[in-house]
Symmetry: C2
Subunit: 85 residues, 2 copies
Amino acid sequence: MTYDVTVYVTWKEGVLDPQGTAVTESLHKLGYGEVESVSISRMLQLRLEAAPEEVESKVTEMCEKLLANPVIEDYRFEVEEVVST
Amino acid sequence: MTYDVTVYVTWKEGVLDPQGTAVTESLHKLGYGEVESVSISRMLQLRLEAAPEEVESKVTEMCEKLLANPVIEDYRFEVEEVVST
């Protein structure tokens, strides 16, 4: 089966997000003082072949090993089956 | 009113995503040959104060001016009102 998986990798609570801080400051300089905060994270879209019973465990493994840094980042993902037409 | 806005910035169709290619190759080297493709994009979470009638136009402006590069990137966003408890 073919799956489209969307992985959201976000900063753990309390971890500094320097890129987000920089964008907040840039927005303030552009006149958008009403912006309180910006947090920037990654969204990964994977297409993969897997058996239905192993797709979640495979993606969890990939997240732990490569796609996220579990020390400072959280991740969650959504799995969608690709239906060939 | 306070709003939480989530902006998704993705590559336009046909634009090369070198970071995604690199991650695909790394996954293959780790033994995940079943991964066909990986595309990496940004997710920005903004908190801002705005009048209900201007929040969408404000965020569109910010996307066009700073948050996305409209030449090579597409963006879409979701607006959610922050209800203080």
